[in-house]
């Protein structure tokens, strides 16, 4: 099998749930944790006689997303009905945008490559079927929740690239506070279509679609499975069947769901209950102003402003709130490198072990900065800083207060330090003996012993100097 004879072509359809308080076409709360069918009304249930009205907050968020994804906003877009029969679709049609979407022609840049976005449009979600034994039950709480669908051109050429695209897209949408993008909760659903073509060929091959990918890992594994499957078929000289495949996380295989030949005729037609959506330039400009610095620009800024390492910056900018926290700490403690190191190791360590978001982190940015300033000014050692940090996590005390209480401020009482050194050397006559015989490598051990005793009260550098001086002078 010579896999590199084929080029992988992937296009993506992403559904992201907009972070509105109420549904797309009625005033019901967007909330699924509640009892099934508790957040429903005659409108989202599509009861006879009801009519939809547009939730303008959803339009605002979708416009913000479109602008952040470099799309052109259509000043006039319109809604359409997409018909199909399914018990979770109460009206017998879904209201979506078809011929005139909200926005077109955008792109997302990953590693210098542009993944083009064909269109971005608004639509409503359907309900959820729950199968139990012979019975099927419907929960309509999710029915009518606003979604944006983002469709790319077939510009993605590997599973790796697909994941990078999704990561960046999620990052952008969370940065602009348009969606929570929690894949497990179904806030962010992706359906890639995959085809292979001989390298250098223009024409696209027959594609298949993958569904049921609810984590980035599943996306990667699913795509890799499908690329391998298609490669095998093509290498054998056989044909790919256009179909929709369902990814099975457990068996790590994809099974056909339904073949496209049987695909339904959705009988799209303009939604007569909703007038076209007309957006003024003033509105679009206003929304543009709401867009914060996006991840890529922010990464570049951090690198150029503070000369930080690229990997470090990537970690810092992964989550907007985390990057905001970084910016806040830097406001009070200008040593960006020190702040970055601390955030990436210590702070993130706590977030991970406690499984909390930066917004739930107990130490406010100014208080953490105070600690880092003390460290930077050599008022405490980094060891002491860590001890103080631990304490800060559990008490409301300021770092200086803790340092004073625990006696962790760096002492300049060299006489006392000398006494400790003397003591240490006395306790380790063998090691001292070795040093004297010229084995200078044991110096580290002796310094370590002293540091352990002083518990971060003296600067390690000074301790080293003194230990060495003491041994050397003693030699003389």
């Amino acid at each position: 099998m010579t896999e590199d004879r084929y080029e992988v072509v992937i296009g993506m359809e992403i559904h992201a749930q907009l972070k509105t308080k109420s549904k797309m076409f009625c005033a019901c709360a967007v909330q699924f944790k509640d009892k099934p069918n508790s957040n429903v009304c005659p409108i989202c249930l599509g009861l006879p006689g009801t009519l939809p009205t547009v939730n303008f907050e959803a339009v605002r968020l979708a416009t913000r997303a479109a602008l952040a994804l470099n799309c052109q906003i259509n000043p006039k877009s319109s809604f359409a009905r997409k018909h199909y029969f399914y018990p979770d679709l109460p009206k017998g049609y879904q209201i979506t945008q078809y011929k005139e979407p909200l926005a077109v022609n955008g792109f997302v840049e990953i590693d210098g490559k542009k993944i083009r976005i064909k269109r971005l449009h608004l639509e409503e979600d359907s309900g959820k079927l729950i199968h139990s034994g012979k019975e099927s039950l419907v929960d309509f709480n999710r029915c009518g929740v606003p979604l944006i669908e983002i469709v790319t051109e077939p510009d993605i050429n590997s599973s790796e690239e697909a994941v990078r695209y999704l990561e960046e897209l999620k990052r952008i949408l969370t940065y602009i506070d348009v969606s929570d993008c929690d894949m497990e909760k179904g806030h962010f659903r992706c359906e890639p279509n995959i085809s292979l073509r001989k390298a250098g060929e223009e024409k696209l091959g027959t594609r298949t679609e993958l569904k049921n990918l609810n984590s980035l890992r599943n996306v990667r594994e699913g795509l890799e499975f499908e690329i391998a499957r298609q490669t095998t078929i093509l290498t054998r000289g056989e044909k790919i069947i256009q179909e929709t495949l369902l990814w099975d996380e457990k068996t790590k295989t994809a099974q056909p769901m339904r073949s496209k030949e049987e695909s339904e005729d959705y009988r799209y037609f303009p939604e007569p209950d909703l007038p076209p959506l007309v957006l003024s330039q003033t509105f679009i400009d206003e929304v543009r102003k709401e867009i914060p610095l996006l991840p890529q620009a922010r990464r570049q800024l951090l690198i150029s402003k503070y000369q930080l390492d690229k990997n470090l910056v990537e970690i810092i900018t992964e989550d907007k709130k985390f990057a905001d926290y970084f910016d806040d700490v830097v406001k009070y403690c200008s040593k960006a490198q020190l702040v970055a190191n601390w955030l990436v190791t210590e702070v993130r360590g706590i977030l991970n072990t406690r499984n909390i978001a930066i917004t739930e982190f107990p130490i406010s940015s100014d208080v953490l900065a105070e600690l880092l300033v003390m460290l930077d000014k050599q008022e405490i050692t980094s060891k002491a800083a860590k001890i103080i940090f631990e304490e800060m996590l559990n008490s409301k005390k300021r770092p200086r207060e803790i340092a004073e209480e625990k006696g962790l401020l760096i002492s300049f009482d060299e006489e006392r330090l000398m006494t400790i050194i003397k003591e240490t050397l006395k306790e380790n006559p063998d090691v001292v003996e070795k040093y004297r015989k010229g084995k200078t490598t044991v110096l580290g051990f002796l310094i370590g012993e002293v540091l352990r005793k002083v518990q971060g009260r003296f600067l390690p550098q000074r301790v080293g100097e003194l230990v060495k001086k003491f041994l050397d002078e003693d030699l003389r």
Partner: protein, 479 residues
């Protein structure tokens, strides 16, 4: 005045008598319900009646009148509502088996406004199934008979509303008009019916047939009552994105205003097949009107031959979509079956009548892949041309006057097997519907074999006041 004469009074007259405590809203209900008792066995105009509730409300309003409170003109006035308009907690069957047991959990906006004004909703009236029909013979609850002669149809689809008003079973009624469903039965039953400008009255709570055409409108015995009911239900509604935020203003008709109006008669309408009697009455009415209005002239609506085909394409396409929600999953009829698709099929097969199925099939075909552009797409383009015809005509005249229907009421079962002949009843009413224009049907002065002939007056968008003025002038010719 004997109490039994009350239904012949105008709402304004009834209001004054209620205010003077000449009789109470309860007395009024007694008369209305006794009429209903007498006529319903023959006419079959109501599907449900809320007697107990109506009396409770009448008592409350009666007490208010006793205290001398300033009440709305509609306070205590019985109103019947076409059974495709939702009234909270009551049946909303749409004359269909598929919804025969459906109770709406909410009030339509028009109903909310009526209730706020103190009107008493006394019951739901019979209609062609899902408002599809021109004879009221397609209802699951049986046909409605014309109170002027029970061997004849009352017109459709608001035939129930028109019939009960005509026999005095209600003072006023709400109907719905998609292609003539208020005007044509008003014409057949000899009452007044108005289809407002599209967007003038909220459709929220009106069970959709063809969303871009459906309108709720009033039916009553006289022009002033129609104006009064319209003024209560008209206005912008947050629940209906197609309502227009345009001031309603005073709708009190003034027949003297017609001296400022030029009336246009569309020459293409006269070229259509029209019953001789209808043509004669129309011409005589025009002759009589001449002395009152500024001018009557012939205008042109060149796309008239396309009104019916365009209308039937659009309304069936939209109907096929709007009726997709009746699947047996959440409410209404559900036929038992082991598999989902079979359940859908059985429910829809048993639940929908012949005419509804015919229209769903036609509409589904018109919207399906490969046919959309040819049918629905073309119909939309033709619709724009039809609108333009009316715009052009209204540069030459203020109002357009036509017969409401080319025929007199026909006998039951006469046309039910010939849908194309039936569809022709709407030949004069579909044009204004496609153009979204307001139009009224009022009885001409002359009667033909016990029936009256309806005259349709079409106005510019939001020109309800003007059509009411002219309708009042015609009504006065009767006296």
């Amino acid at each position: 005045m004997p109490l039994s004469d009350i239904p012949n009074l105008t709402i304004f007259e009834i209001h004054n008598k209620l205010k003077n405590l000449d009789f109470t809203p309860t007395d009024l209900l007694n008369v209305i319900f006794s009429r209903i008792n007498d006529h319903e066995p023959t006419i079959n105009g109501f599907i449900s009646i809320f007697k107990e509730k109506a009396y409770q409300e009448a008592e409350i309003i009666g007490e208010k009148f006793k205290t001398g409170a300033e009440l709305s003109l509609l306070a205590g006035i019985p109103i019947a509502v076409k059974d495709n308009i939702c009234v909270k907690d009551e049946l909303t069957t749409c004359g269909s088996k598929i919804l025969h047991n459906f109770r709406s959990p909410y009030d339509a906006t028009a109903i909310k406004q009526l209730k706020k004004a103190g009107a008493i909703v006394i019951g739901k009236t019979n209609l062609d199934e899902f408002a599809m029909g021109s004879s009221n013979e397609t209802s699951y609850f049986g046909p409605v008979k014309n109170p002027l002669n029970p061997n004849y149809v009352p017109g459709g689809s608001s035939g129930g509303s028109a019939a009960v008003v005509a026999y005095g079973g209600s003072i006023g009624a709400l109907g719905s008009d998609t292609g003539g469903s208020i005007r044509q039965p008003a014409s057949f039953c000899g009452v007044v019916g108005l289809k407002p400008t599209y967007g003038r009255v909220s459709r929220y709570g009106l069970v959709a047939f063809a969303s871009s055409l459906d309108c709720i409108g009033p039916i009553a015995k006289n022009v002033c009552d129609v104006a009064l009911i319209l003024s209560i239900i008209a206005g912008y509604d947050l629940h209906d994105a197609t309502t227009v935020d345009f001031p309603v203003g005073s709708l009190i008709p003034d027949k003297n205003k017609v001296k400022d109006y030029t009336l246009g008669i569309p020459k293409e309408y006269l070229e259509e097949e029209i019953d001789d009697e209808v043509r004669k009455v129309f011409n005589d009415t025009i002759k009589e009107l001449k002395d009152y209005v500024r001018e009557i002239k012939i205008v042109s609506l060149p796309h008239t031959p396309y009104h019916l085909p365009c209308y039937y394409l659009i309304c069936t396409a939209e109907a096929s979509s709007n009726l997709a929600r009746y699947d047996g999953v959440r409410y209404g009829l559900r036929e038992k079956s082991e598999y989902l698709i079979q359940m859908y099929e059985a429910t829809r097969d048993v639940g929908f009548g012949k005419e509804v199925k015919r229209r769903i099939l036609l509409g589904t075909y018109a919207l399906s892949k490969g046919y959309y552009d040819e049918y629905y797409g073309t119909a939309q383009k033709v619709r724009s041309l039809i609108k333009k015809d009316f715009d052009d005509a209204f540069r030459e005249c203020d109002l357009i006057i036509t017969p409401t229907s080319p025929t007199l009421p026909f006998k039951l079962n006469e046309r039910i097997t010939n849908p194309l002949a039936m569809y022709r009843s709407d030949v004069f009413t579909t044009g204004p519907s496609l153009a979204g224009l307001p139009a009224i049907s009022v009885a001409a002065p002359q009667k033909v074999g016990g029936f009256s002939v309806g005259i349709q007056i079409i106005g510019r968008p939001f020109g309800e006041k003007e059509i009411l003025d002219c309708a009042l002038a015609i009504e006065e010719l009767n006296k």
